[in-house]
């Protein structure tokens, strides 16, 4: 099945034309987004925490310190919402009312569980590192025993998900097209600036290709 079913939980009610339920669209957004925003509930109170992540097939993996409250809460199997959004541009209409943002967002729901198997845990850490910057896992020193022991890894099976996407130009009221107001789209993109070499770096180490060519675009 390549589509998630539409439920009361994941259905796009506002502007349903912007809704997408296919894995291809949803997973492309998740893979491009650098960070996600994890929502959980404690004693009726909502919390939202930004965190690095990776997708492995139909699961989201998170990692962090053993003591992390967020990770312990996820690991315990509580209901979790994960949201990720990429902003693609500002939509400047002739009227304030029709201003908008071009964006691609995913909201997904699932329950967490611990990742404790040594190989699965290592695969999750590799996925999170490669999500951050592809090519890095093979260059950096990989986790040792002590580091593995102090790291908590959890996974969230994606039970329901949907994407919401806005693309394209401003849409104005017919009578506003005659107004002398600049209209258009200002594209935005998360771009790398010049890499900053670590001060203690050994002299003969040159910038890796995967850093020089870094881009969030797939």
């Amino acid at each position: 099945m390549t589509k998630f079913p539409r439920t009361d939980q994941n259905r796009i009610n506002r502007l349903p034309k912007r809704g997408h339920y296919d894995r291809e669209t949803i997973y492309q957004i998740l893979d491009e987004a650098l960070i996600c925003h994890v929502g959980f509930v404690e004693k009726g109170q909502p919390y939202v925490i930004p965190i690095n992540f990776a997708r492995i097939d139909d699961t989201i993996v998170l990692h962090g310190a053993k003591a992390s409250r967020l990770l312990k809460h996820v690991e315990a199997g509580n209901p979790i919402c994960v949201e990720a959004t990429i902003v693609d541009g500002l939509v400047l209409a002739r009227s304030v009312f029709h201003h908008s943002v071009n964006y691609r967002s995913v909201v997904l729901f699932g329950k967490g569980c611990p990742v404790e198997d040594e190989q699965e845990k290592l695969a999750a850490l590799k996925a999170v590192t490669e999500h951050l910057i592809p090519g890095r896992w093979d260059e950096a020193r990989q986790p040792n025993r002590k580091e593995m022991n102090t790291t908590r890894v959890v996974s969230i099976k994606i039970d329901e998900a949907s994407a919401k996407v806005r693309v394209g130009p401003a849409v104005d009221e017919q009578e506003d097209y005659a107004l002398p107001v600049w209209a258009g789209v200002l594209p935005l993109q998360e771009m790398p600036l010049s890499p900053i070499r670590d001060e203690a770096l050994l002299d003969d180490i040159s910038l890796p290709e995967y850093v020089r060519r870094y881009s969030r675009k797939g």
Copy 2:
């Protein structure tokens, strides 16, 4: 009072040195972040929705369609969490374990209420537009009666808030500094690309300065 008190809800437990509770730091991050991520609870289930926003003094204002489920839920006075994050760069350490992200994030808590007074509602819409792109409110056509009537505006008084900030270079284990691994920071920034002029734009309208010079940095 320029600091938010530390409570069980807003206290930074993991890496407390990264925690900030002063309004100056928190509000600078909120004002620079383009969108926020609103967390709420319905029937025990967490939801996180990305949305435009603005800060006015000690409140967050949101706007959208009258039918928006999120806004109705906020307006009803339910507990809300708002999170906003700016990613400043990738921190590439010599070990996978010490990889990190330079970021500035805010997590805040409050309860919502409707904004119905005509002048307050207009001020909120102006703030949201100017948050998106300063200078736009005075150029675009402002909301008419019909548009005001179909727009819902809500505000969330910030009861508790904290920021978490990581800056600076990678920090590696002493013995790893001898490894032949490139280390450093790859700065990331949300940058505007070339503005795309609307196809139906009148010929004699030139690109406004505030679009040409757009930057999220204050």
